[in-house]
């Protein structure tokens, strides 16, 4: 115990003197949490729209007014023909063309049916998808509004209508920030555990100080605990700063118990620290450690479900995500923050992360040798 205390004292002295690590611990979560949720915005605004209006009727005017009033679109031009509109798309000035045929109003009233033509620039997939969907949604609504105008009087509608009411549970306004901030916070804690710890251990190898430790009576588990505990604490500090920033800037208050978040993070950090420690036993220089950790953490984050849904991944990547601790942490963060999940709900995740941590740490300890 005494040895560990002195190792920790030494470690904290070094960390507190290292301005970069301090900046990483304090500034990075603040800056990232301010910038990233704004950048990782899935709502598409300012879709450039041009309308080819061949009708110039009251109805076409109404439709145009409805679309521009939605706020999603920026009306850039009224080209004379579809051909001119296409030129605007080619020169990247427009994203969507809505073409209204001549006699739109007349045919709509007389034949009770009419066709509109929407073409979308699919270079930016997300924008095309959502832009197209918005236009279609507005047209559908326009359609139902004029229908209700026409059908009057009968006491019971003779057209059967299925009315759909949608409620978004846990995040009623679909505020993506509430959903992104816990995820990004999980990534930050992962970086602290998996990255900074690996670099720190390899630094001792690089400077040769590990040699001096190896000839001392310090036992293997003393050295390992002396390395892991400081970064475990730093990870917890990052989590605390992150939760505070989430509250102060985004007003996010976890629905569930904050204690549960800390409990899970405590176990989770042991698991990612194991990863960092494992990387350090395979690297000789800080550069190697950096690239090796970067490789794993990159894959873990890509497959974590932070940016894309795991459910839409192919089966074989889904299998990889079962062994990805980051996935579980992001899920649990969202469960507790958004849904208010309790201990029994997160228990399966907790056990899986503990299992992964056990494997990584045992592997790392077996691979760490004081003698070559």
């Amino acid at each position: 115990m005494r040895t560990i205390r002195f190792l920790l004292q030494k470690e904290f002295r070094q960390i507190l003197r290292n301005k970069t690590i301090l900046a990483v611990v304090v500034m990075v979560p603040i800056v990232q949490l301010i910038i990233l949720p704004l950048a990782a915005d899935y709502e598409v605004k300012n879709v450039s729209l041009c309308i080819v209006d061949n009708d110039h009727s009251t109805y076409s005017q109404k439709l145009i007014a409805k679309i521009t009033a939605s706020g999603y679109f920026k009306l850039v031009d009224f080209p004379e023909s579809y051909r001119d509109g296409l030129k605007l798309i080619e020169s990247d000035k427009a994203d969507v063309i809505l073409s209204i045929p001549s006699n739109f109003e007349r045919n709509l009233i007389r034949d009770d049916t009419q066709e509109l033509f929407v073409s979308v620039n699919a270079i930016n997939g997300v924008k095309a998808n959502l832009g197209g969907a918005y236009v279609l949604g507005i047209i559908r609504e326009f359609n139902s509004v004029i229908r209700t105008e026409w059908i009057q009087a009968p006491r019971f509608s003779n057209i059967p209508v299925i009315d759909i009411a949608i409620t978004n549970w846990y995040n009623p306004y679909m505020n993506y920030k509430i959903f992104m901030v816990p995820g990004i916070l999980a990534v930050l804690v992962t970086m602290m555990g998996g990255y900074v710890s690996a670099l720190n251990i390899v630094k001792e190898k690089e400077l040769g100080t590990i040699e001096q430790m190896n000839v001392s009576p310090i036992r293997k588990h003393h050295f390992i605990l002396g390395k892991l505990i400081p970064f475990w604490i730093l990870g917890m500090i990052v989590l605390t700063i992150g939760l505070t920033v989430g509250f102060l800037i985004y007003g996010i208050v976890p629905e569930g118990k904050i204690g549960l978040i800390y409990l899970f993070a405590a176990v989770y950090l042991v698991s990612v620290l194991g990863l960092g420690f494992l990387v350090s036993t395979y690297s000789e220089t800080q550069q190697q450690a950096m690239f090796l950790s970067f490789f794993f953490i990159m894959i873990f984050i890509m497959l974590s479900g932070l940016f894309t849904s795991i459910d839409s991944m192919p089966q074989w990547t889904k299998v990889i995500t079962w062994f990805n601790p980051v996935t579980y942490f992001i899920q649990v963060m969202r469960m507790i923050v958004l849904k208010g999940s309790g201990f029994m709900d997160i228990l399966p995740h907790l056990l899986k992360v503990a299992g992964i941590g056990l494997v990584l740490n045992i592997w790392a300890i077996r691979n760490y040798k004081k003698t070559s």
Binding site: T209, Q212, N214, V215, P217, S372
Partner: protein, 305 residues
């Protein structure tokens, strides 16, 4: 009584392709200042790392104070001091913090063994709040020595402690070693500098993983049976090539401002024949004197055998 015993230690690297030490054996007596002398790559550091339990030998056995380097490694680690060739203290901790840290991990305190390091530490004391990384080369070595000594080791292993240190600090450093020896600590030191060999009680001359000779420095010089001459002229370069072509020459090499020359056979007229030969090669204002050999001359002569 010998405190360090090395028996037929062989160590190879890269799956046996690089031979670091080739069946080396030697022993060091208690209280001795023992030197491993040899050029870079001779295998000195490998021996140190095997004796300090950092490296496992391929074959052979070694003991330190009766403890086996493989089985009793933890006892050895508790009782030896090791100063690696590369400065390996915490550069971001201060002088005092480093010393304190190494004292505590060995379960002792600075006060307890202060008498051992006192002579050295007084020189460091003015800088005790300075970060170790900011010290000068000589100061770093002194601090490293203090840290290796603070737990009163039975044997002190110093791997090239004076490499990259200025001549004055080197001299100071060896004086410190002498004083430590007087306190009864066995010291094993390696160095590529031949002039430091004279300061050891006994030395092992190493080359290519083998020990060529283990003797006191005096005996090594005594065993040098040949006559050695120092030859100098204004044109040293052509003098060297000419002397190497000379039929009586056994070896000739540059040594400071003169050439050291030895002959194949002892002869009264060696000197006059040499001067006559050099005269025929148009050398003028020649100087040629008998000299006593140094360790380096012995080393070169052993290397050629």
């Amino acid at each position: 009584m010998s405190i360090v015993e090395v028996n037929n230690i062989t160590k190879t690297y890269n799956k046996g392709t690089v031979l670091a030490t080739d069946s080396i054996s030697f022993s060091v007596s208690e209280g001795e200042l023992f030197g491993l002398i040899g050029p870079d790559g001779a295998g000195k550091t490998s021996i140190f790392r095997i004796l300090t339990t950092l490296l496992l030998a391929d074959s052979g056995t070694a003991t330190v104070n009766g403890w086996d380097v493989v089985n009793d490694y933890s006892t050895i680690r508790n009782n030896i001091g090791y100063m690696p060739g590369k400065f390996s203290l915490y550069q971001d901790l201060s002088v005092e913090e480093n010393l304190e840290f190494f004292a505590t991990i060995f379960g002792t305190t600075i006060a307890e063994n202060y008498h051992l390091i006192k002579d050295i530490y007084v020189q460091l004391e003015p800088f005790k709040d300075r970060r170790a990384g900011k010290l000068s080369g000589g100061m770093k070595q002194k601090l490293a020595l203090c840290c290796a000594l603070i737990h009163k080791p039975v044997v002190l292993f110093l791997d090239e402690p004076t490499t990259g240190v200025d001549p004055v600090s080197r001299k100071e450093f060896w004086n410190m070693l002498k004083r430590l020896k007087e306190q009864g600590i066995t010291i094993i030191v390696s160095t590529p500098y031949m002039d430091e060999a004279n300061l050891c009680d006994r030395i092992a001359l190493m080359q290519n993983g083998k020990i060529m000779s283990i003797e006191t420095p005096e005996n090594i010089i005594k065993n040098y049976k040949k006559e050695l001459w120092a030859v100098a002229s204004p044109n040293m370069h052509s003098l060297l090539t000419d002397l190497r072509e000379f039929e009586l020459t056994e070896s000739c090499y540059a040594f400071g401002d003169s050439l050291h020359l030895s002959f194949k056979e002892k002869n009264e007229d060696n000197r006059s024949k040499t001067l006559a030969f050099l005269g025929s090669r148009n050398h003028s204002s020649l100087e040629m004197n008998r000299i006593n050999p140094g360790i380096e001359d012995c080393f070169i002569s052993l290397m050629q055998q």
